[in-house]
Symmetry: D2
Subunit: 334 residues, 4 copies
Amino acid sequence: MRSYFIRAGGSSLDDLVMLERDEPKPGPREVLIRVRACSLNYRDQSILTGNYFGGKVAADQVPLSCGAGEIAAVGGEVSLCKAGDRVASTFFMNWLEGPPRRGAALGAPPAPGMLSEYVVLPETAVVPMAANLSFEEAATLPCAGVTAWNGLVNGIAPLKPGQDVLLLGTGGVSILALQFAKAGGARIIITSSHDGKLERAKGLGASELINYKEVEAWGEEAAKRSPAGIGKVIEVGGFGTLPQSMQAIGFGGEIAMIGVLTRGESTPHALMFKGASLRGILVGSREMAVQLNRAIEVSDIHPVIDKVFPFEEAAEAYRYQGSPDLFGKVVIAV
Amino acid sequence: MRSYFIRAGGSSLDDLVMLERDEPKPGPREVLIRVRACSLNYRDQSILTGNYFGGKVAADQVPLSCGAGEIAAVGGEVSLCKAGDRVASTFFMNWLEGPPRRGAALGAPPAPGMLSEYVVLPETAVVPMAANLSFEEAATLPCAGVTAWNGLVNGIAPLKPGQDVLLLGTGGVSILALQFAKAGGARIIITSSHDGKLERAKGLGASELINYKEVEAWGEEAAKRSPAGIGKVIEVGGFGTLPQSMQAIGFGGEIAMIGVLTRGESTPHALMFKGASLRGILVGSREMAVQLNRAIEVSDIHPVIDKVFPFEEAAEAYRYQGSPDLFGKVVIAV
Amino acid sequence: MRSYFIRAGGSSLDDLVMLERDEPKPGPREVLIRVRACSLNYRDQSILTGNYFGGKVAADQVPLSCGAGEIAAVGGEVSLCKAGDRVASTFFMNWLEGPPRRGAALGAPPAPGMLSEYVVLPETAVVPMAANLSFEEAATLPCAGVTAWNGLVNGIAPLKPGQDVLLLGTGGVSILALQFAKAGGARIIITSSHDGKLERAKGLGASELINYKEVEAWGEEAAKRSPAGIGKVIEVGGFGTLPQSMQAIGFGGEIAMIGVLTRGESTPHALMFKGASLRGILVGSREMAVQLNRAIEVSDIHPVIDKVFPFEEAAEAYRYQGSPDLFGKVVIAV
Amino acid sequence: MRSYFIRAGGSSLDDLVMLERDEPKPGPREVLIRVRACSLNYRDQSILTGNYFGGKVAADQVPLSCGAGEIAAVGGEVSLCKAGDRVASTFFMNWLEGPPRRGAALGAPPAPGMLSEYVVLPETAVVPMAANLSFEEAATLPCAGVTAWNGLVNGIAPLKPGQDVLLLGTGGVSILALQFAKAGGARIIITSSHDGKLERAKGLGASELINYKEVEAWGEEAAKRSPAGIGKVIEVGGFGTLPQSMQAIGFGGEIAMIGVLTRGESTPHALMFKGASLRGILVGSREMAVQLNRAIEVSDIHPVIDKVFPFEEAAEAYRYQGSPDLFGKVVIAV
């Protein structure tokens, strides 16, 4: 079988190589997955370039946390799934449910990665795919989908029908959040620097569109467009967005902070006068992945894919993910 | 102006009379409403027949808790609304927000009723109508809509996308619950003795239909149709439904009990083995009414009205509400 | 090593036998426990007499769910504890955290039991003992303590300082609930038929004592003694207690139903007019056991033990548990 | 009667004057309070010096938000209290219950202040005093007590027995938080620059003491002293404390930010990797004040008063509040 590896000490796309390996065998509580599709997240770029927490990978590392496929074989003590099941990976190896905890995540040491024709995982590190999804669609969810779900559905101001939700930009997390928020009956305010993308967001159910190139004080503007008060901001970050998100948030609301891209310092005073909260989101638990797949099935949501690359062009997919005109996720078919 | 009254000591429709009265004047923190539509609830039948808590009314009583209209005038210290606003009544006079409390409710002593061309209420006893609603539609919500909303959205297992919700029958509360649950992304299982009504429920978004005449063990059947486990039952009652609702409910789920019609004894053992809850619902707070009107506006929900009667035919409306083929609410235009 | 067994098909104390067996060996993710103490629950009587869910045991079964001891050895992949750790068993084999779920529980088929000098359990089926506890004290907690904790601390009306809590009787769960509620700053109302026990409850921190032999309408009386409204009832059951608990509960409060002893039918109307809830409690998760051991350590709580029997007198302990003058738990030293 | 006023345009203690005025009369839903004691908060210093939100006061303003006394008279429609009741003021004029909202607060325009022999307030702007408190003690609670209570008891990680709570310093809010946290069964870690104060905190129930002059990295140290993870930080602020609080907080925990003194910018990345939250606290609702008075009564808590000044020496009290050796609240007897 063929797998991609980031070579030990790798720091660029030159270090991403495809190799032939023996098909692995599942242990007693493990499953063997025939991977059919993977998706890319910004985290995967950091891991490739050695800018992730652990620095450069010390040993050859299969990349990517997000994949979907069929169970090809199961170990003797497996009870949660069976051969033939369509499943997606979970982001964390060991966060099954309950409150947040520290843990290894797929696609970086010491966990396996998904960019491989076959992968062995503990039976608890996969979830059933929503029946209405293709493998390509299901592969977009383990990191970006669970992050959006956790941000919206949990915390001090959980999603409810009629809630005003502010989304920043049209990246993978924001567009999935848009689809979940719409399915949950929320009223959606979204920002972008690109009118075409705002129109596409409208097509997916956004009701208030703010071009932040035209409206520099977009946080204030969002607050104005929400007479009831914004209950939730999905803060995907970037330089200086947090102060504006704090201006936007309503009384008692919550800013769900997807931090990897949040940059710059800020003073959190604005939270205080509104009794508002800022919650750090680091993806989520297996249980959240189970829940979101159910929600997807019930509302027949189809994650937005910008482009699908063949397995042989994984490097192209990495490059393409940096392009400014992305709308939705970048997928690699396996 | 004209008002209906249940005569002191009244016990039947013969005691419902229409009288001319002087138009009332709002006090400093009160509003005068030009009522445009009212809706009927089963509670209104009990009040009319003297079977409500207080027994027969001791003084002439304007009936009905649920109405909608325009603000005709406001007292000098009113700040929450202004003349011309489209508003609906709240069910309780004094439950503004927060947890449940005891209190007087419109349409029964000692509170005023809505079946009148003009009504004076405290400014806190009205809420803004969702902009997309007609007065007839808005008049269906103060009791039945808030009850459905409270049952679904609050408690230990609040509505979330992908949740399985069981609805019993197609009465006013159940159909509104169907519409709210659908707007919130739930998967809906509904029972009826009538295939035609089940089909209409399907048209509104129900995915699992159970004819309880054909499937006597409908509680068990509902559980079977919910592989994920039913998270919420809106238990509108009737003889012997509660034991089946307890069979239907999933682990950690909640039965929201709208009790007026719940009859018969039961042993709650079944709750225990599933860690499930039973919550008593007695309509809800003003804040819940505010929230549900927002949700209605965002998802463009239109409450289902079975029939609208003119003001002069209020007695007909009372009679019609007992008819077995009802689907949705009975409304009186004012 | 020596273990007690309920003989296959057993239905009385005559079927409880002590046998010599080989010391078991832990698998890779298992631990070997040198048991030092066990405690008895009413469930254990039902299992012995063949009145538990599964009926008479089909194979020899080691009894008792509740034990504490030292880790004697650990399997090669164990990471949660190490040899020498002082631990208690968990009630369920597989409910680690999160919402309720179905599962096997210690002391009944198909799970192992604790009344043995050595027991092998999965590493996730033990929790660290609070440092201030003896083995005898720690052995009282896995079922009765976690039940009390779950009832008080979770649900729609979680324990908070100043909350009024009603406890029924002075059995094992009620006395542990008293100690936890006191540690959490609650105001405690307790019932008993025995003034001496009420005095002992006062010594543990109860502020309102009701002798239910003298005050038949104890539910109403409890409500009177709670001007703020009772926020939580720990309903441990018995014939006809539930209707009175429903009279006692305050607006928005929760009756946590520990159902094994709840008998008789009831109509739950009373819940409705107070917006109150009834939650089924079936012990709780491993995480709850971890939390309560921390709470015990912080507040230096010592569970009340009525009597400790030596290992050789296990049958005496079973008999003694039925005595009417019990106050606190019955323990067997191992 | 005598009242203190900050003169219009005032900016220093020279502008605080005592004047004779006619005793005010309560309106229909108002109460007249014979004030017996007031307490000082840092906010009161800002208002005096014109550094509060509105700047210098535009008209003569009675200062102080926090007072306690007896009801001397009530208006004709008052139902919540009666003459002779011992009551304390609420901080906000109109935040009765429910989620946070904007509103006027006592002691600053446009609301009245408490530093007066008699004050008229709406009946909803007072709460019953805990029976065990003196007027001096009750006067410490409306701002500092409710702030501490809101921070601890609400939010995403509410106080529960066994929870680890970190308190910063020994100011009024921190010491009240210590007392409430202790009453709720928490384990308390507290910082100070002063060993004597740490010892006093130990006397009140703190178990871990950190002198932040000796341990510069106190946030990290606090985390080390909490094997279970700190569930709540009461962040009362100062330059650069927030980054250390973020290091201290445990997985899924909450930093309750009492912001007036929080200074300096910070990057909230640390929250993310622990799924932790930061919640802005701006005092709290009337309902919270009701709850905390109940909790105080049940656990017989006595707020710590550093010094009581006579009414004539109000200016001395203002000056004394700035002294570095304060432990507990500064009170003015009226």
